[in-house]
Symmetry: C2
């Protein structure tokens, strides 16, 4: 189903909203919506709204806005479900456009926070372009939220140093029980945990640390493990970082969200 992300200017007290520019194009030209058609909206705080197009002009359209109880209202038949358990993706900066792909897929899957991380083997850096890059990522997130109908207000942040992950994760946990996982694709001296065994039945907030192209250094893993993170060995081949992140998100979310433990 489609979910329309309301502009930051949207006021929760208003009963209608006029849209121009990109938002107008998206609804009228991309989705080809007609007067009387409905779509689900989400405000910047994750609140849900029933939207109905009441008028379409040359360069603007007007929508009526009513608070929505839950997703089921005007969606195309998505089962009601409990909100997804919170996941934080700590993604060490990959090269070039790979980050776009990672952010898009992680957002679709409802990852709550995507935090970009600087680690030893990062070739890429956002120095000097952090602001412009993060605003590009915001645009990718917005589009992915609309396509996937995610009700999770995914945010992309960073860049932080890998040593600051434990403190950052504690800040984000809001007092929930924390499970920190470090994906490592080669055998460590220390034992590595079985992903399935770690995640199964867990009710709190989960962090996933994914290395850059060159992988994580063993010391980087070990110092995260000293802070209570668990190193996980994926039982598959060596994956590129852009594959590893969505592969692991699929595995972890599926086990987290399963009713039958």
């Amino acid at each position: 189903m489609r979910l329309f992300l309301l502009p930051a200017s949207f006021s929760k007290n208003s009963s209608s909203i006029e849209l121009r520019g990109k938002d107008y194009n998206y609804l009228v030209n991309a989705l080809r919506m007609k007067t009387g058609q409905k779509i689900m909206g989400r405000d910047r705080d994750g609140g849900l709204w029933d939207l109905e197009i009441t008028a379409i002009g040359r360069s603007s359209c007007v929508l009526s806005v009513r608070p929505a109880e839950k997703l089921s209202a005007v969606t195309d038949n998505i089962p009601d479900r409990a909100p997804l358990k919170p996941i934080v993706l700590y993604q060490c900066l990959p090269k070039g456009r790979k980050a776009d792909d990672i952010i898009k897929k992680a957002t679709e899957a409802g990852v709550r926070d995507i935090v970009l991380v600087r680690s030893r083997n990062c070739v890429a850096s956002l120095e000097g372009k952090e602001e412009s890059r993060l605003s590009r990522y915001d645009a990718i997130v917005t589009e992915a939220i609309q396509q996937s109908g995610s009700v999770v207000p995914t945010k992309v942040e960073g860049v932080i140093d890998i040593r600051d992950i434990p403190e950052d994760f504690e800040k984000r946990s809001g007092g929930l029980e924390r499970l920190g996982l470090v994906l490592h694709q080669t055998r460590l001296k220390e034992d590595q945990a079985d992903l399935f065994a770690c995640v199964r039945g867990f009710e709190g907030i989960t962090a996933i640390v994914v290395g850059p192209e060159g992988g994580l250094e063993e010391e980087e893993c070990l110092s995260l493990m000293d802070c209570g993170f668990r190193a996980v060995l994926l039982k598959t081949n060596i994956l590129r970082c852009e594959t590893a992140s969505i592969y692991a998100i699929g595995a972890i979310q599926t086990i987290l969200e399963s009713d039958c433990q």
Copy 2:
């Protein structure tokens, strides 16, 4: 680790092989390998070989070839592991370059067979260009196998009609117990299974059917279910098809390969 895919011309009786053209470029120019350096090789049947560069010329290089017992030999520290359980991905044809991304990621993860499928909502078609497209996919597979060190001889085949999936899957199963899964993102009239519950502890061969952009029609799901396939509702947002495939592969393979059930 790197795994070099030996050319189809490679004979298992030979103790050395001379490489030219693309293979020469890959080893000498891309990997910058020097005389005396070793790399793991895989033949087209999935057999493993220890390779050592014995001579490098202007346009060709010579490698010595010895059968390898197991991966550990010259790899950069990949844990020995049991071979991955066989997975067949039935991917309904997506638009444009999305298939490249899906095939690359599925190959990295060690999916054994990738079968391209024609279904009701497929916009894309390979009519007339099947041969050229499949040879491009072979090149993508080869590169992904080398990057990921996969020992699974992934093959891309098709295009078959969605109605022919059950028969095709039976042919590929080689007598193994079969688990057929259809990913469907909206609620069906019939009950949908929990992915975790379906896959957990399964020892046979698994098929994953992933729809095209427009998704699968309910009848398409139901007729697969009549043939023993199980419809699975991913407990996440609506994923684009190129996200759904690797997300599901990550989930299914992680549960299949876990030691602790």
